[in-house]
Subunit: 150 residues, 2 copies
DNA sequence: TTGCTCCTCACGTCACGTGAGGTGGC
DNA sequence: TTGCTCCTCACGTCACGTGAGGTGGC
């Protein structure tokens, strides 16, 4: 049996799948954030499911946390290094010290992100409370307007 | 007795109080978002406490919700119109229909904002869950690395 | 062959950042 | 008078948007 086809997407399909423009995909490539897994013989970009996942991660960080692209790249680079080390994990002669160092790095970044998310959620909760108070004031103002006869 | 001084701030003080740059204040003025309450004889901008409050509102919308400045202005304009009507409330001959229309407008914008905030909080909660799962995986990976002696 | 999507420039835009050169108030 | 802050241009930057003009695969 043949291995199943890799299911690579053209740039337009990839963009639509992640809710971004094709320009964004080319720009991320230029900035070193996301290289397509392959290319067609004619030179068209081809994106894998893993590429789309990576793209979604980038958008999460940018949209939800307002992270700039250089910071996102640093984060993904560190993840890539950790994944690389994990892939070599089974080979003999790997340095556990090196691996532990990368784990430290990944954990501290994760913790920093979690702190950012918590801060944002708190700010949004405050905003929500404020908006609810205003909604209540609107209702009060409407009552004060006098009873509209049905 | 004299009325207490209005306590107007220079642009640098206003900027620092709201955590933005002076450039941002001048830009918001140019874009019609925030006009300083007054000017010094020499032509310097002077900002009131209400101006700073308005500025903080703008930053909330921009930072927490990613709202663009045109949308923010539309929102503040509507609030200003409502405040204007309320100020005239005591005068006789005001149209309650007009006032109710403005209340409708304000309420619907408030509701839209609340929906946006709720969506964002949900997205952030999902991100938080994802980050916590990753944190757990890091701990597992560390255990797998082998027990560090002592 | 006809559309449609893709390609690479390259200029435009939004929300500011950052000097350049000069004026005004403790 | 000396700093410090203010003023108005005006060019730079980041993350794309948007054509311009041309090539490639069902």
């Amino acid at each position: 049996m043949t291995t199943t086809e890799p299911e690579l997407l053209r740039i337009g399909q990839a963009a639509e799948a992640a809710g971004v423009s094709t320009r964004t995909l080319r720009y991320y490539e230029q900035r070193g954030l996301l290289r397509p897994s392959g290319h067609s013989p004619g030179g068209e970009r081809r994106y894998s499911a893993a590429d789309i996942e990576r793209l979604r991660t980038i958008r999460q960080l940018v949209d939800q946390l307002g992270t700039d692209l250089d910071t996102v790249r640093a984060l993904l680079d560190a993840e890539d290094r950790l994944a690389g080390i994990r892939a070599e994990y089974r080979k003999p002669g790997q340095s556990p010290a090196r691996q532990e160092q990368l784990l430290d790095e990944a954990e501290s970044m994760n913790a920093a992100l979690r702190a950012q998310v918590a801060t944002r959620i708190a700010a949004l909760a405050a905003l929500q409370t404020y908006l609810e108070e205003r909604a209540a004031r609107y209702v009060a103002a409407r009552d004060e307007l006098g009873p509209r006869s049905e």
